[in-house]
Amino acid sequence: MDFWTDLLISILQTLISPTTAAFVIAAIGLNIHFGFTGLMNMGQAGFMLMGAYGFGVSVSYLGLGFWPALLVAILAAVVFAVILGIPTLKLRGDYLAIVTIAAAEILRMIFKMSLLSDVTGGPLGIHSKEYRGPFTELSFLPDGSTTILGITYQNNGGNDWWVRLVAWALVLVFILLTWLLVRSPWGRVLKGIREDEDAVRSLGKNTFSYKMQALILGGIMGAFGGIVMTLPSSMQPDMMGRPLTFNIWMIILLGGAATIFGPLLGTLLFFIVRIALTTVAGEFVPREVLSAAQTEQLAWVLVGVALMLLVIFRPQGILGNKKELSFNV
């Protein structure tokens, strides 16, 4: 197969991969926090950790079924949001940023502790075969494998079509939910809080409660993102650290904060551009000039440059409305 077909297929594979879907879901949650409510959550990865481990540990260690384990994951995210929110949501916005990034790091450290390796697997994490069973059992797909557009995966088991189906269905559900909420009076109050909290308070709205609701809702979406991300292969604490949070932030700014489809478009572009860059550079730039590892790093450098250009020339993101720009420089 020639180079361009390979590239196209690898782009297609990335586009439908569960990891991409997980990024979209987490970004939709962060968009509720930042785009619509103005909450500077710098610890979205912490919510993803809560979701992933809440689900994984419930199945592998406690032996719970799929739905109870999912409930545990959601509750874990809710508890995390409440613990973060109570001390910080009454303060100025920046405090939330400091506390969330610290809390997410603390969580990662806790899950990494070798003391807990019986439960969380410590730094090695948990392999998906330990917690995937109940999820695979829910599948209605027949056994075997399917090829669509030259991409072949198993139907059920491991990195399969079933995860992809569920992951993108979730993306659809969360986009729809966001749309329904944002057009409602509830969404209007959130935007009001983003603009001027005191004004909204003076109009009789309990802003603390609304901010908490937004933090919890976006956090639950983050938790789903964490589960989706870890279903195909395994979960380790370091998968969901600061870089992940920052990438999700970049996705939001790229796609356009406070838009419905911004997180989706941002994620797709983020992955396509990186894949295309590394593949094209790997093919056409001689090894002596750039090694494979270096192309990967160069891609990240270009991502950084792109982010700077974006903030300078199109601060509202690709889909954003200039008048509603959320990232003011």
Partner: protein, 322 residues
């Protein structure tokens, strides 16, 4: 929340009744809507507010005047829950600060609860929700919206009817405040004066029993001032109690039924506009001897007036020399 039992308003009768009162700080009103008992606020060693007793008459327009830094805005913040009195009742220990609105004690209520009780305020520095349209700004002011509940919000039929009513009401108000043409513009694009209007219109969305305006006229052009005055009077005629802070003495004299004067955190005088404005204490603390002369007016610039001022300045200089 809403004042369906409209207060029977008759300005002459109300004024007659108010004029029977003894015009001293803290005097009891025939029918107070807001009653404040001893609230204090200290910032470090400075006492910003120290109000012993104040009652605001229901259905009247009460003006709160005083020099800059007198504590008027802090007083607003305290009674609307945006700030806590230094002598507030706390979990352990506590003070004697107490105030009630419409028979409801507001000692420990938050700003949003105070607003829901029917006491809606505006801000000296306008707080328009910039990246939302004018109409959205208005709609957020409406009360009792089921659609503001997270679990009801996704299902539009449950809140669509209320939303429609609110939109109609908002459009009506926008017409009254001459903002209807700007309905779909971002609030951030309005001029300073228009933001003031928007903020006032927004506060009216919930039919408050009392509206508290913090310098509604600052930065508003004369034509608009006139229409704002009319709006405020119309509000009162509909039964809304108005408490406002203002530096424009013409306006205060023109529309207020009762004037409260603050200086250095304390209420130094209250009474009918005419009486208060001629009181020596108020003139000394705030108005200045020439408050009723228009410095920009040709008439006032005549030689006689200039001579008076020149003599006074010379006198003062001599005193300083001595």
């Amino acid at each position: 929340m809403s004042n369906e039992q409209n207060y029977p308003y008759d300005r002459a009768a109300l004024r007659a009744e108010l004029s029977k009162l003894e015009q001293v700080p803290g005097v009891a009103k025939p029918d107070p809507i807001l009653s404040v008992n001893h609230i204090e606020r200290h910032f470090g060693g400075m006492t910003a507010v120290n109000v012993d007793h104040l009652e605001v008459q229901r259905g009247a327009i009460t003006a709160l005047i005083g020099p800059n830094g007198a504590g008027k805005t802090t007083f607003f913040n305290l009674i609307t829950g945006f700030d806590q009195p230094s002598n507030a009742k706390r979990l352990i220990g506590g003070g004697d600060a107490a105030w009630s609105f419409n028979g409801k004690t507001l000692n420990r209520t938050s700003a949003s609860q105070a607003a829901r009780a029917g006491m809606v305020r505006t801000f000296q520095l306008t707080k328009a929700l910039s990246r939302m349209t004018v109409l959205q700004n208005m709609l957020i002011g409406a009360s009792d919206q089921r659609g503001e509940n997270l679990f009801i919000a996704p299902i539009k039929p449950l809140w669509a009817k209320r939303e429609k009513e609110n939109i109609e009401k908002a459009e009506e108000l926008l017409v009254r405040f001459k903002l209807d043409a700007k309905k779909d513009d971002m609030a951030g694009d309005l001029s300073g004066g228009q933001k003031k209007l928007l903020e006032m219109a927004r506060a009216l969305m919930s039919n408050p029993a009392m509206i508290m305006l913090d310098e509604p006229m600052a930065g508003v052009n004369p034509a608009l001032t006139q229409s704002l005055l009319e709006h405020i009077q119309a509000l009162r005629d509909e039964g809304t109690t108005v408490l406002f802070v203002e530096h424009d003495m013409h306006m205060v004299r023109h529309i207020s039924d009762w004037v409260v004067v603050m200086a250095q955190g304390e209420i130094i005088a209250e009474g009918l506009p005419e009486t208060v404005m001629s009181s020596q204490a108020v003139v000394d603390a705030y108005l200045g001897a020439h408050h009723d002369k228009d410095l920009g007016d040709d008439d006032a610039m005549n030689t006689g007036f200039m001579r008076t001022i020149a003599t006074e300045i010379a006198d003062e200089e001599q005193e300083e020399v001595r």
